[in-house]
Symmetry: D2
Subunit: 277 residues, 4 copies
């Protein structure tokens, strides 16, 4: 994902220095063996990682992003992280005289490669505005939120909607199948009428074909996001029965050994719970 995003920037003429854990390189970009080397002197440092702990590991501590970034520069955190971490990063960068813009995205790697992401930025308004051309290079639209933690929350809200759609689809297709409606026929009805959106076409198609590998977004990441939603809901005192149900389902999937499936693989668990094999 990060690679595809960086490639978009290169294609739009941005000067890019990259760092990643596995040391991969990107045509047109300088690569640095250290975080410090990648960040030093930059106006903007972008992170795109899988979870809170990875973001912490890359950002905080000696020789890491925050310690290496020059004053007045901006850290653009594009990972899906907890509301709490977004707050913390905003405060820490401010302490260092830097800016933090949280800017998670919706979109799969192919959309990133095409510069077609949706970006949800939140942070100091001038910092967000200053990133305009950068966001245009990577995305087809931006939806600004009032602050960094708000943008983290908004992204989690979107992922919760997605996960709910997956579970609803999984139950629907199982019901239809046991009732004798071919899953492809039922999906065609759904996408042909009320649910004509890429997520239903795409995930529904994976469920119909029962093809959950390779994982575009692995099941344990789905579980992680549902937990982040519930952590936010907990802090804000919001009962979320669907989110609770989702956590139970994702844990069930992981407990049954489906770690390597795409998160739409919860459909497999729904089918099996109904006695289909």
């Amino acid at each position: 994902m990060g690679r595809a995003m960086a490639a978009s920037l290169v294609a739009h003429g941005f000067e890019v220095r990259t760092w990643n854990r596995s040391g991969g390189k990107l045509d047109g970009a300088e690569s640095s063996p250290t975080i410090e080397g990648a960040v030093r002197g930059a106006d903007v440092a972008i992170t795109m990682l899988s979870e809170d702990s990875a973001v912490r590991a890359v950002t905080l501590g000696e020789g890491k992003l925050r310690a290496s970034l020059k004053p007045g520069a901006t850290h653009v955190g594009m990972s899906t992280i907890s509301v709490a971490l977004a707050s913390e990063l905003a405060a820490l960068h401010e302490e260092s005289g830097q800016h933090y813009v949280n800017a998670p995205v919706f979109g799969r790697p192919d959309m990133a490669a095409a510069g077609k992401l949706f970006i949800i930025p939140g942070g100091p308004p001038e910092s967000v505005t200053a990133l305009d051309s950068l966001f245009k290079a990577m995305g087809q639209g931006t939806f600004p939120m009032p602050s960094a933690p708000h943008s983290a929350l908004a992204k989690l809200c979107g992922n919760f909607m997605l996960a709910s759609t997956l579970e609803a689809l999984a139950e629907t297709l199982t019901l239809g199948e046991k009732g004798g409606i071919p899953p492809a026929t039922l999906l065609q009805m759904l996408t042909g009428t009320l649910f004509n959106i890429p997520v239903v076409h795409g995930y529904g198609g994976m469920m119909v074909r029962q093809e959950f590998t390779p994982a575009g977004f692995a099941l344990p990441l789905g579980l992680k996001d549902v937990k982040l939603v519930l952590a936010a809901a907990d802090g804000l005192e919001v009962p979320m029965p669907f989110a609770e149900q989702l956590r139970s389902r994702f844990i069930e999937a992981v407990a049954q050994g489906h770690q390597d499936l795409d998160w739409s693989g919860i459909a497999l668990v729904a089918r099996e719970s109904a006695g289909l094999r």
Copy 2:
């Protein structure tokens, strides 16, 4: 709804005779004071009613639709009904030498008036084919199912997806609102990114404005449909945790006196459960 559908037929040159409980009339159509009068001699009789019991009351018994319809004619049942009733009607009409095509629709009254419904027909293939021009007059697309009960089930599957979307939206918007994101901003993000579909625009908009009257589809009808989904799931032995959760939510809404709201009014209950007034 029935009136709008009949008007579409009139507009397309079909000869229409109407009957309804309140005796309303429609320009260009003959109206009959009795079911028998409306049906006698017709090739096709269409019913559009709110629930199983109303369909039974109009169809079965002396002087009713089935007793009055000529042999070889077709009853097109366009109401959302139980899988069990669809099976029963198919069998009863066959006994009488008639045909039964179950053909529920997706779409609100304004879509019916514009001839833009989606129609999900199921029945004897020749009967369904013979209705082609009639369906074209009322709808923008048909999605045939293998049989009458399959079409009833498919429609319930669609309504379950809708109700799940409502609950997910209700939880999401409540979470966002308690977290400080204006509901309109969050909805704009959802519709601008992954959920760019009329149902999210429409129902989400009602939730944002907290305008749940007049009810396009009343909350007790939503409860009725969730119960029909669960009745089907029960017969087919399919665990549906989201559907169970939905029933609990709709009962909560009705128990709290929200019978007159649109079914998207479950968002009100979700907000209140989170302490928002």
Copy 3:
């Protein structure tokens, strides 16, 4: 169950005539090949059957219990039935100048044999009082309810509490087991501290030993009762999230082929959902 109850009555000197579908006989009791023969001339007719449909089949129609029972006599319905059927039977027997006392029981066959049932009678007060010695012969305690349907509801409330206890135990023991606490050790703690009651000893023991056959109370009967609870909750507009969850669990169990297990066998499904085999 019925046999054990009848034996208690015989042991207490009641004159008993029996009828059952399989034609089994009981020492000390006259057996009749027909319902009519068993009921004719009796002051009291007792039914103990597995579900609504069986009670209807035995009670209603020509040559059945209601048609054969003399005026002024009492039908004591001891089965676990729906609130709706209890109402209906009360009305129908009243129409026939008979009395209906609904009197479901708590207790397993061994408790019935020992005359140790708990009886929950509801009906006309004089009729209930008149049954005092009969209830004493069969039970160790009676808990009168205001009417026949109230007694049906109270019994369902008890069964819901039982089913909830089963699910909570199933989840607890699974959690403990995956965490490394031997199920027997955990159960001993529960029964030794806060849950020192026969149902936790008994059902918990079955879960610890994973012995769910022979079924004292078969899983599909548990599902039936949860559905009756939800039907009552539906009519009374009471959201019952635990009951909804239970239905999902019991359907899951049945869908996976566990029809022959005791209803405590939902623990097997809980274990498997956690990846234990």
Copy 4:
């Protein structure tokens, strides 16, 4: 709670030094203004606090319990804490050449005062054995677990069973009440038949009287424990649909402003969700 437990020890002739945040004193015990003073030289240090953070605050850091306890002495942690913290404390005390026995309890303050607690100890076997007379002074029974974290988990399992019983009771009594059965009558039936245990008598009685203050165990503590159960379930990969439902219910109660009620006050929320006021 801690005061009542200390009083039991004094009554049994143990030499007791106390420390608490509010500086309260206990007849027969020396009181220390500092943790260090209370712990220095002792063979056994007992902690009884409301949650993980309080246990951490008292135990870890300069001048705190761990730093002040002599080598070879034992810390007996009797609070209900997370499995993770129990593991951590066991490891840290071992590092310091001390012993850690986790020993949470079941029982309310009145049971503590009467020396009637149930104690669930887990830790090095010799350390647990050495505490025998101390546990006998405070409790009516001990249920040893294989290790400190196992004992934390077992206690959480018990609390989950309790919380599930509360929710099931809340739903049952609401259903009965809307159906016309006086809650006291229904509770009498439950306790008179299958649920003749103090927790159902006690909490059920509070629900019947709708008296949820003063809180024996406050609602937010119930929520905290449900979250600890789910945290354990998450780590162990156990789907727990009842626990998820409980969290949703407790959050609902807290969001609606019921922080000061006893945790059985979830019955109030269940009633209101059913439209009862």
